[in-house]
Subunit: 246 residues, 4 copies
Amino acid sequence: MTDALRVTVWNEFRHEQKPDGKPRELYPKGIHVAIADHLKKQPGLQVRTATLDQPEHGLTEEVLANTDVLTWWGHMAHHEVSDDIVDRVQARILQGMGFIVLHSGHYSKIFKRMMGTTCELKWREIGEKERIWVVDPSHPIADGIGQYIEIPHAEMYGERFDIPQPDELVFISWFQGGEVFRSGCCFHRGRGKIFYFCPGHETYPIYYQEEVLRVIHNGVKWAAPPETAVPTFGNPGPLEDVKPAE
Amino acid sequence: MTDALRVTVWNEFRHEQKPDGKPRELYPKGIHVAIADHLKKQPGLQVRTATLDQPEHGLTEEVLANTDVLTWWGHMAHHEVSDDIVDRVQARILQGMGFIVLHSGHYSKIFKRMMGTTCELKWREIGEKERIWVVDPSHPIADGIGQYIEIPHAEMYGERFDIPQPDELVFISWFQGGEVFRSGCCFHRGRGKIFYFCPGHETYPIYYQEEVLRVIHNGVKWAAPPETAVPTFGNPGPLEDVKPAE
Amino acid sequence: MTDALRVTVWNEFRHEQKPDGKPRELYPKGIHVAIADHLKKQPGLQVRTATLDQPEHGLTEEVLANTDVLTWWGHMAHHEVSDDIVDRVQARILQGMGFIVLHSGHYSKIFKRMMGTTCELKWREIGEKERIWVVDPSHPIADGIGQYIEIPHAEMYGERFDIPQPDELVFISWFQGGEVFRSGCCFHRGRGKIFYFCPGHETYPIYYQEEVLRVIHNGVKWAAPPETAVPTFGNPGPLEDVKPAE
Amino acid sequence: MTDALRVTVWNEFRHEQKPDGKPRELYPKGIHVAIADHLKKQPGLQVRTATLDQPEHGLTEEVLANTDVLTWWGHMAHHEVSDDIVDRVQARILQGMGFIVLHSGHYSKIFKRMMGTTCELKWREIGEKERIWVVDPSHPIADGIGQYIEIPHAEMYGERFDIPQPDELVFISWFQGGEVFRSGCCFHRGRGKIFYFCPGHETYPIYYQEEVLRVIHNGVKWAAPPETAVPTFGNPGPLEDVKPAE
């Protein structure tokens, strides 16, 4: 990957536009801008944003064709995402586009599509503490952070998290109220790679926390499209001389 | 599981009804009957069949609620399976029903739904030899067979097979024409377990081959529903006293 | 498996023989007897025990040859286990014997041998609460228990646990002091299956807790030897006519 | 990783020193030199070699401390590798050093140590054809090669290959004589990453084949040490106020 990695930061961008709420106070320009502002400071990335209320949710064929890694945050309007766009994003992931799913994005149509499961979980919002432990220190997604990340006030997401067993499990979270959660999960799907990362909520300043942003950046790099051959499918002739057995 | 395991053998049942064809000659009562006849001879199983052209494809709410393991064969009419039934089958798998997908069932709506990928592959039908190697001899799905199964004449299914990495990979096939294939693949999804098994084609007598039937039977036993707690999702109170950090 | 499953419950049996200690008070006949007494009540099991200070640690060639599943508890005398016996147990596991490793057995020579890693972890003994969450409700090792098991007073074992990623991760523990732990881990090795289960300490009555005993019993059943072909290795002739390419 | 990645190419270097043999003819300076010569041409790598007959097998504490990725080829003298050096290499891998195991290195002491299994396989040397299929096109180890690599004349390595299920399976080989083999296998162990790659034999010019060298190079990059926190083990105080339950 000698050229810049082209990242599109997608956000539902509804909570933050409601007047007088905590989300607007914390993220006046939207969660996408907080994340994109961080990524724009990193070398080798070319970053843009897209949001639900743009035409085609900002995810036109042209935008996706020019996106190497897509990050996704949604919550209250999952059902408003059009099935056509879900089809389109799925196809691009399978072709090789990286996909980073953040927090409540677990319940988006596109994440459920990619997983084949309900993606349901337990949740609770009382501002409790979360401690995100690294369980795979060989994994580049944990680069540059300590043995754990502490989130002072977080929404609890707890097991059972109805996803397939991750191909690589990087983080497990501890919650003050008594639950655990597989909070950093890697999946290979088609030619694409998917990273689910738990932290982040519209009423907490989590997307300003340095370690959280570092993990998102690590995830973007890890999910960069491969430079592998595109598999062909269908009906090829034999590669060997075949004289079928009698 | 003290009671009988209730198995429903599903078949598209179209090829075999065409007059004067090889499928009809080989499987005059249908592929489902060949498989069900074998399973009916096994202890502890209670076996019925269902086919595409029955009302609700034979998969009513009542049938599915009383099915512990569902086996699936389809080929030429995947698109005729109604999306409502696909939704229903997916929900039952996630609740715990075992699911055995056979041969061309790889391209069924329900298997694609469960995998989240295209499930495409390479294929060729020239009657070449297939040799199915056991790569995980600790796995009960390989019980009772040798180090490999030889299929004298098979349809070639070759990599790249566009599925998620199996949770447990039991078999890999060698084909005379030069390809390989992950031909015995286990997946845990929700409370359910899925086994994909490659052999079997409407123009070969593969579903009369003892070792193939043995593996299907092993798969049925392996995929039996667990007796685990049904997870709850949603918004529980904390299990611990929480005094959120300042 | 129509005949009884032959289980050998191994215990270091040192703590419990020290006079006037908590281990002796809790487990007067030894931890192995507490576990064996439970298993002996289960149908289809034939249970014996073996301990470190018996000749060959109670694990003669004859005993191992007649053991289908071996459970292992050790702590203060790991270094006293002879390397020859470790070789012997490893060979039997690879041949198909199931192996259940309990609590501090994580640091035994044989578990480290099977994992290829240090098997180190964090630990703390202040009697804190542990809550063991089921993260794979499709897995038979979780049969018959609820969404979690609560251990009122436990030794903390915390991540980073230096093991390979489990083939199947069934349980994750939450600890009151702030840590998490992959506490129910399945591994396939050779023809054998290994289950590591965290709970259990010589100063807590954990091996009298019904749910813990149930999981050990489930693990024994899951790890039963397969009835698969024993792979051959070495130098076979070709299965096909080979005319090497020029 | 802004600085150069320091690679040590290790070779047993015995076959090639025998007079008048095919290995000497093909690899007059040794297999290690063929591999190192290729890697030296790649940007960002600093490459040296080491061989069995050097003091401490060329793998002194100092050399290993300054090695980011170690590649390993051995065959006829596995038993001559000292256990102390095996301990040392294992420790370095677990600390984060990448480890690339080539061909007959599958049966080295150090690979068996890391796997915990026998690492046995089937083998045959009649110069048959091998075709190495990419089964995970999302994996960077497959970068830059086609859907498969063809090796005109290879030693057959066949299943059952007695290793743990790879964390990521990248390649599966087809052999003319009728076998298959998991020929590109990734493992995470401790902070280190291990890649086993099948091709390469002392009597074939495989280590001059461009695609094989490309995969080795890809493996080296993939296995680069992480920049993650080094986990601490042992007995920490609680991170939370603990009032043990009564």
